[in-house]
Subunit: 311 residues, 6 copies
């Protein structure tokens, strides 16, 4: 059973980098797109192989998700020996409950559709919901990019910096950063008003006179980071803020919003493709080594110790 | 168990028309769209009801499909008594087999995802593949808009017109039209070269000196119709062509392509929303009466005789 | 379809109270226990009925869980028209992820076993994991006892009290209490060392000179509450602490541990049976009205607005 | 994982030929038949093996199908490592839709029963419905015997022969023959009146003065071939007709019906056992090489390029 | 939801009798049989109804089973509100385990196929294996014809008769007869040599000078009864033997074999059609009242007390 | 794929013995037990391995069953290549039918929960119900300890001993013993009154003046054995009784009850842990060699001939 990488179109560069690290090339694939928008992926020969389909389900989310479902089915019908869906970014993870009556539980809908289409195992990186694996009937390996990101932050880290969780959901992550960077943690409590508007309230922990390192699993519009930064500054934090997040969605004016802040350093990964203008000053740490390491170990039936997210 | 109509965003006007015909209003729904493109539909109270979710999965196909999956899950978790997904146009129906090694079977992927998300029954109109119901584990009711379209064609139908099937897949449909219009059938045999390019070859049946009524289940780019029209003209057909198709996708320059033909009349339905410029001269027959009739009968446990497609 | 209450042996009093509130009596049931410990429940006639099986899965957890699985199967084979498992306390909810390699995801194992045994819907109260519904393929209604508990706390609530979340997982709950009681919130950050030992660290929010109202979803050994109380006192809180938690497991010396604290008031519910000595000074608010209200609405297909947990 | 052939009783000779070509012998099997007609197959040791169960589901269809279901279960419980059901002829493929209200979708019923009994993959030859794979949740490999049959026809093929599709459903197949034989295609349009009676109507393509090569996927009663032959003759075709069909069911007087036609050559395969009288003048090309080739490639994880049906 | 009886072809008279007892007529059905033996049932309108499909799966077993699977699918796709498969005789019940390595578990294969095809509940009469319901994921109601048969035996029952179980598997049944007839029980221990040959050995209980009433769930070839009769006679039993069995398969020379015995009375039911020559002296008690009673109670959600088999 | 033994806590000694026989050590496992009784097993690295989880589900049944479900899930999520649940004793096997209306079918509930939690195959020893495998959708290998127990009985077996089945359910087992020991069989017919009270009635076969060897699959309270012994003695059997049973539950006073009988020898296995006082005079034959042999053969894809129970 050979190890084969199948690259969806959501991040071909990442898939290539993973394959290269593993000493191979992605399975030749094509994606036909019909004039009416229907997708038709075609995967190369992979009968009997241990196949890893790389596809982050970032924007455009629906297209990337449907393409992934079709790819999984193509692998199954093509006779793959085992199929692992690798979602460096797992879209819809935030919809892990009904926030109010009448909603769907989108994370579960996605999990079920992946399994129904042929996925036998998932690999994800720093999912928004730590309970993600409980939503999936198939095994899920939850990797973390925090060590890589902390490693990128460390060299220029001032001695008096404080790791800041911009909301309660990020505290576990912040503690992971803090333990690696040997820094204290402060926590911002916010109230989310709408999808793009956040009202920050207060901060637990001492940030006065210190540079903040705001960390989160993902940056969507940047509003959460913006609010946290403002709280830090309002509480006397120094204006040399660093920001780290595994997933840089950076939509809806995020570059501009973050660009207006006194951010000296913004680190993210290529779990989603990063093609921003140089003005953005984004430092991108690749998750390709992490994913290649994990895939190699899974293929060789080795433990994932040291690669897994702390939950 | 009350009858409730849930309207997806793919065709709210059609859903409203169906609800109105049935003497009700659609269940209040909202569709939040997150800045990163994730969808979050919210459906109103429908606990215990017999729910019909109206959503054609035309372009943008992936968005409409994912929204439908979420809507179905929202209905299920909201306690719907029974859930019927109504797809006036069923996208991905053409992918009912692997055309070559390495492809997916998209129609089955969609069918499985719908069932996994909570659909207990499907209602479709003139699906591209007559075997669609065999691909679904849940019951499928396949309705037809042919009588409505034939009714629209009839008044201005010249006495010597001939119904033309633009390819072999449309012959059953053409025979249905022909029996209603009491006209003969001619068949064009084509070879599809690429998604948008069609090479027509020949025609079986007498079209010389006659006006053609070209019929098909759907018009995507219009290339198939264009080719059929050219064959008719090349075989001496008169240039007063009529065209009828249930599903007017009309993408990728279809209006222009069809506009250049000597088409006197182009009839389709609102299975997909039709918002074309007046220049298009499109006559739109609504499937709302058909769908309302079918839904009403399903709700009242009556037979669908007379509404079903001939397969 | 009549409404029928089936009472497991985990809390027959609660089940009786629910049935009484709904104006009925529980379905006659027996639980044989073989000499080797195998359980054999027998349920009365409930063919065609809308059945609600009441069984909190508190200690002894395994026995109560297995009994529930058998009860569900008995209802299914006995011809119940619809089966809702009502778990006022949902055991194993904390195991919603693998904390380290080699663990199971117990919450999902339980969810799958319930569905496999015949449950078509779950009703739970203040589950430990808000993502519980995403772990279940069947709909889950997550009710909350917070309004009832807040109502019990309110009369004797000092004007300067502060609601204290003993850890980050309880913040949402604390905010719910705070909004009902119109009090501020403070948050203790703890590190759990072992199952029974908790090392508290700090507190965010002003507790000096104020009486604390420590709230949580459940009290197991009481160690979390004890630690939070000590933090409050260490930060100058007054020694007139109140404690509220939906689920009073109160195992492993909890009464003694809590009895040593300056707790003026300890409020919980009967989601689990409460048979403690008078020395405990436990105030028990019944969830019977809440559950009876919810079951009645579900039976009558009405919305659950106002009864649902905030997640 | 060894390659093992299990032979059902529907075509032991074919199974032996396949096994021989693959250099092995079929797994020893027995089929007990109880006095009341219940079947009890017993398969030999195949634990851990890659098992291919050979069973065409031709007449008696029900017995062959039920035997196949039992064989699959016996293989599963006997510990087979992987189970592929090989149906050289797939019965019930014509029931891929409800022709009228109240029918079943027999093809799907069969597909589901096969999967429920343990089949993990299907191999079929020239199935009646090209959408067969979309009806199956498990992968289906659709092979074709057309090259073998075309090869048998070629030597004696007159230079002016025309390939004739006896109905629209056979056109794809006819085009496959035509491309291999480098001949034109003509198409008969028929209307099926009852199961055994066919009313032919017309022909598209030039058959006058030419010998017809009528091709189809299967010959049941021969009525379709008879009708097509009569149309060819009526349109001036020469009376030296050749007939080719993958599946020779030849029931209900087919030999007599075909014997009365001016057929110079009738070629079919042993996808179903052919034990007809010499008077029939049937030329049987074996599908054993095709199936052995496909099975060998599947076992060795090689592509099936060149063996697959064109759909 | 109306009560509707669907009659398979295995026993239309029984189905009619059931329907008549219930005051209705069977749903109009047809069974097309293609020239190659494929079956195509067509059921009448039953949308929303509570449907009971009557089909004993006696000889020809495979045909009756496949017809039943198709009928169930037809009912499901036709919109039946609830589908109960009524198998007055459940074929393959004896294959409830692998008697030796390499066999299938036929009873489970049948159970799974029934559920996969749409059955939501089974009703059977005196199944060969009392564990049948444990093999089915869907509820099974196991009725008994013993009271009816005992009632037929009673009038002519000599005062000194003894109920004889012809093998150990029939002891529970014999005890049921004995309690109704107030007679003692004797048990023959046999060793089955082949399907049709039985070597009887001994008898427990006093039969000397007494007329035996040999009872069993089914009579296939009659060999078991023959052997038991010979044991009774050899142990001094009087030659006025009575025989009762729920299911009269009576294959492979059973009438002759039983005709040679000193049997004064042979009672069975019409769970399978009984069309034997008058010479057979068979007394047939109809299970139509039993089945009609059970179906009526199931439809009206009443208990089945008194109709169920003792297991 | 390495062979790995996972030991549940129900019988760690047996698991160790099996592992030792196979030349390995059990996978390191821990079982955390929360203060409230929730279990949290942790299994060591077993990715890609062929895993056998050893856990008899004897008392406390619920705890052992729930622990097994969690262990299976832990193995599945830990990446086991194949998972076989080995239940030397399978609890709930007696509940293979509803004894009366309103009961569950516990054996099926257990079977479904095991499969839902990740078991792909079961191995059991002398299950109470021979139809156990028909209740499981996954393959079940039913081993027997009878040869080992017969071997232990043989040396001291008097020449005139008779094998006694204490009830009808044990006759097959008794015949297996009898064939190995070359002794005749006698059968006690009993009526079970309650779970612990048995009223014995009579005996078929000659026991007068002979020592009885009473055999059964399991001894729970010992009441069945006690009753059989009394019948033997009452019919003149000698007071030197031997008893053999695969599963020694020995609950509810069984040691005392059996100790009062003239039993010279009581043989059982360690399918359940045996920690009784020396006064019990219990001879324990280990099933470790049997299970190790079976597991070794399953791992090496060899037949189980000679190890399987006779059913």
């Amino acid at each position: 059973m050979g190890l084969r990488i199948v690259a969806g179109t959501a991040s071909p560069l990442l898939a290539s980098a993973i394959a290269k690290t593993l000493g191979s090339e992605p399975v030749p694939c094509e994606l036909d797109r019909f004039p009416d928008g229907e997708l038709r992926p075609v995967v190369g020969h992979l009968r009997g192989d241990d196949v890893y389909v790389i596809q982050p389900t970032g924007p455009p989310v629906s297209d990337h998700l449907v393409e992934l479902l079709l790819l999984l089915d193509a692998c199954r019908r093509g006779g793959a020996g085992r199929i692992t869906a690798v979602l460096p970014y797992f879209g819809y993870a935030r919809q892990d409950r009904r926030g109010r009556a009448g909603e769907a539980v989108g994370a579960r809908v996605v999990a079920d559709a992946l399994a129904a289409s042929g996925a036998q195992r998932l690999v994800v990186v720093d999912p928004h919901s730590a309970a993600l694996e409980a939503m999936c009937g198939i095994p899920v390996e939850m990797l973390t990019a925090v060590p890589a990101l902390a490693g990128a932050l460390a060299p220029a880290m001032p001695g008096d910096a404080v790791v800041v969780a911009p909301d309660l959901g990020a505290v576990k992550l912040a503690e992971h950063y803090a333990s690696l960077l040997q820094r204290p943690v402060a926590v911002v409590r916010k109230t989310r008003v709408t999808g793009a508007t956040v009202r920050a309230e207060e901060i637990a922990g001492d940030v006065a006179g210190r540079p903040a390192v705001i960390v989160d699993d993902m940056i969507s519009t940047g509003a959460t980071i913006e609010a946290a930064a403002q709280v830090c500054l309002a509480h006397g934090g120094t204006p040399r803020i660093a920001v780290a997040a595994t997933h840089g969605l950076l939509v809806a004016g995020a570059p501009g919003r973050l660009g207006r802040l006194p951010v000296r350093c913004l680190v993210t990964t290529d779990s989603l493709p990063q093609n921003h203008s140089p003005a953005m000053a984004l430092q991108v740490e690749s998750v390709a080594p992490l994913l290649a390491d994990a895939i190699g170990r899974l293929y060789h039936d080795q433990p994932l110790a040291g690669l897994l997210a702390r939950t």
